[in-house]
């Protein structure tokens, strides 16, 4: 996760407070994540999350209080980086064939039960 902030802009003031007080605690709680803090002068504060599937999520933190920033960081940490898609209908995503299905080779054997000489 990359935190980009500006030293002088007032929109980064809350973010600077967050970095001073909360960032280290979050970093210790999530040892599997690399936290980077960068300066981005004369720009709004931004947090970027980079995920294993090569996608990244970027959230602007302008106008957020410290607990708002905490919630956005939590959102990035909880996410898997997958694209947001409608999940109401995709309840179970499975790549397995159904366990109760007759396998195809077996089905061919059932069909081919002709006895030679009986069919004219």
């Amino acid at each position: 996760m990359v935190f980009e902030y500006c030293d002088t802009y007032t929109s980064s003031a809350n973010f600077r407070t967050y970095i001073h007080n909360h960032l280290e605690g979050i970093a210790r709680k999530n040892p599997h994540v690399e936290f980077v803090v960068k300066q981005r002068p004369n720009k709004e504060p931004v947090v970027r999350g980079f995920y294993i599937n090569n996608r990244d999520k970027v959230i602007c933190l302008k106008g957020l209080e410290v607990n708002g920033i905490e919630k956005k960081v939590e959102l990035l940490l909880d996410s898997s980086g997958a694209k947001i898609k409608p999940l109401k209908r995709r309840i179970v995503e499975s790549r397995n064939e159904a366990a109760r299905v007759i396998q195809q080779t077996r089905m061919l054997a059932v069909l081919d039960t002709r006895v030679p000489g009986m069919h004219d």
Partner: protein, 155 residues
């Protein structure tokens, strides 16, 4: 004519082979042995109050579970049915955990896309727009463990 009848009888008999019921196993551990010996199994389990048909390595999406963090492993405690291609064991109403164990790992807590819900009453000047994102938790189902029991009798 006679040969035609004989051929239909033969095909009927061969089709009937696959519809004869198998002998019921003596006990639950024996039934589970039969299920374990088959190549693939499924379970019917209820998670967060809803029943789903699950198999290993599935990705299950349920409404957001707030007490759980990403990476936690949950044991499915309400398994109603376990089955395979030819055999099924149904619990009443649940199969005890000593017979079947399935775990699910929390993959992520997401939100769905933004929904714009428009409420309107015509000719009254009332129009409201509600923006809403539904929260979900996604679980990856682990392998189905049927522990070997010492009380299963050998055939």
């Amino acid at each position: 004519m006679a040969s035609f009848l004989r051929s239909t009888l033969r095909t009927a008999a061969s089709r009937a082979l696959h519809t004869q019921p198998a002998a019921s196993p003596a006990s639950t551990p024996n039934a589970l042995e039969l299920i374990r010996s088959q190549p693939s199994q499924y379970i019917v389990a209820s998670v967060a109050g809803q029943k789903y048909i699950l198999s290993p390595r599935d990705l299950l999406t349920v409404p957001r579970l707030n007490d759980v963090k990403v990476g936690d492993v949950l044991k499915l405690s309400n398994i109603h049915e376990i089955g395979s291609r030819e055999y099924t064991v149904r619990g009443s109403p649940i199969i005890p955990l000593e017979h079947v164990n399935v775990e699910a790992t929390v993959v992520e807590h997401t939100k769905g896309p933004m929904q714009f819900i428009v409420k309107m009453k015509r000719r009254k000047g009332y129009k409201r727009t509600v923006q809403h994102k539904q929260t979900y938790t996604r679980l990856r189902i682990g392998p189905i463990h049927i522990p070997y029991s010492s009380t299963a009798s050998s055939s």
